[in-house]
């Protein structure tokens, strides 16, 4: 069935058999597997963070003059604990302030039902389908085509759409896009992304600070004072520790980013699946994604920090790359044609 170009034609299929790749996987399975993967990745990231904290402490201790075994252990432990504590504080802060910050950066203004009844109705309908409280609706005055969702949980959700995209979509396509955004909120993707971003940020900061201190230390002549104060054989072990710490500091930031982007792509696929679960009409989202693929201008309000939350990557170089075959590890979003193919596979 083709979408109606008229006012409204949302089709309800109560129990349409919808299959995903591989066949006979249900939405619940997808959601469960995604949650599992996310937990694993979150654990991995946390371990990385703690390791970095420990490495910083160890590296600095050894570099700054060394210590014997017990002292090193203590400083490593302290480093790990400090890393964990700071992570918790930073995460809490970003979790509570993050959404409003994002909306401000994007220059979004909240609208009421009377400003755009159809948009409002669409969001309301999908909230009913999802069984979650209705998010606030924001609009961005921008001819570019994009939309995003924010909010640490469904009670504090918000969706935003550009005026450009709002005008370009039919009601069904609008429903597809909004369903995708509401799925993000429902899956707690935003909360997850905020936490990941905080941890990545901290890992990058820590490694950056570490290198600076080492650099500064070597320039001003600090650094390797004689560390033979303790046991003699401690020297070799300390060098090994230093090397490990250095290696960690080199790989950690890159590793963290790879993890984060992998998660981000995974969750985009899941939000697409969630959108279909809500609307039971993949054609809506497919139509919207096709229109999004054809758009040539980058979004005015988009920037690197918030790029991952938009429905398609809003940045200039990503917009140009939209059509490319290759799939880089640093893409926040899966390639559009991949997403469209997966959605088409659901129409069976």
């Amino acid at each position: 069935m083709t979408p109606n170009t008229g006012t409204s034609s949302v089709i309800h299929r109560e129990r349409e058999p919808v299959r995903a790749l591989p066949h006979n996987v249900t939405f619940n399975d997808l959601i469960r597997s995604n949650k599992r993967k996310s937990v694993l990745l979150m654990i991995g990231m946390s371990l990385l963070l703690v390791a970095v904290g420990a490495a910083v402490a160890a590296g600095l201790t050894v570099w700054g003059g060394g210590a014997d075994g017990a002292g090193l252990m203590i400083s490593v432990a302290v480093g790990a604990v400090v890393a964990a504590v700071v992570a918790v504080i930073a995460s809490t802060w970003s979790l509570y302030g993050g959404s409003s910050a994002v909306l401000r950066i994007a220059d979004a203004r909240e609208i009421e039902k009377k400003d755009d009844p159809q948009l409002f109705n669409v969001v309301e309908e999908l909230s009913i389908a999802a069984g979650t409280p209705m998010p606030k609706v924001y609009v961005m005055d921008d001819p570019g085509l994009n939309a995003f969702a924010t909010g640490r949980d469904p009670e504090h959700g918000a969706v935003a759409i550009t005026t450009g995209l709002r005008m370009a979509l039919s009601r069904d396509e609008l429903a597809g896009v909004m369903a995708h955004e509401i799925s993000h909120i429902r899956n707690y993707d935003i909360r997850f992304a905020m936490l990941m971003a905080t941890m990545v940020g901290m890992i990058v900061l820590a490694s950056d600070a570490f290198w600076r201190i080492m650099f500064y230390g070597s320039i001003t002549g600090h650094g390797r004072r004689s560390s033979r104060g303790g046991k003699d054989g401690g020297g070799a072990a300390q060098i090994i520790i230093l090397v490990i710490a250095l290696l960690l500091m080199i790989i950690a930031p890159t590793l963290a980013m790879i993890i984060r982007f992998a998660v981000s792509r995974q969750r985009e696929f899941l939000a697409d699946a969630g959108a279909v679960e809500l609307t039971r009409y993949p054609q809506g989202l497919i139509g919207a994604l096709e229109k999004l693929g054809g758009c040539k201008h980058p979004l005015q309000g988009g920037n690197r920090a918030t790029a991952h939350m938009y429905i398609v990557n809003p940045l200039k170089n990503a917009v140009k790359r939209q059509g490319h075959e290759r799939s880089s590890t640093f893409r926040t979003h899966p390639p559009l044609h991949d997403r469209i193919d997966r959605l088409r596979a659901l129409i069976e």
Partner: protein
Amino acid sequence: MGPTLIVLIVLGVLAVLIIFWMIGMYNGIKRKQIGADQAWSDIDVQLKRRYNLIPNLVETVKGYASHERETLEGVIKARQQAIDASGGVAGQAQAENFLSGALRQLFALSESYPDLKANQNFGQLQEELASTENKIGFARQHYNRSAAQYNEAIALFPANMVAGMFNFKDMDYFELEDTAQREAPKVEF
């Protein structure tokens, strides 16, 4: 002290743990039941919303197409029938579908009356009613999903034992009895 005391203590701790575990399962089931009940009343809310929109619509159409009495009266009658519907879930579903059909005919009228079609109030009502139809459908969808989750919760082991103890029964799905209705009418106004 003696081994008997140790055994008793261990059994006591085990008993407490099991009780907490059972409380957890009971609460899980109860939460899903409440969720499904809420979803059910959401359907009701949307149905009533539709009833409330219709009088305004009828008046607007009368202003432009007053001689289309049959269609107009069809809608008014269908609305009343839906409000008075009996026969449980199946009876309600049937009456609601009948009302949808009557509304479809009314909106089809607007094709022959360009003035009516252009009327802003009519346009708004069209959007509102289309949206309400969608909401009814989505509310049903959500209810069925909630009911399925609840039914699954009371069926799976070991929670099904707790379910049996407290007499949790399966919930019915909001089915469409009639196979013709099952075609999920295309809501096209």
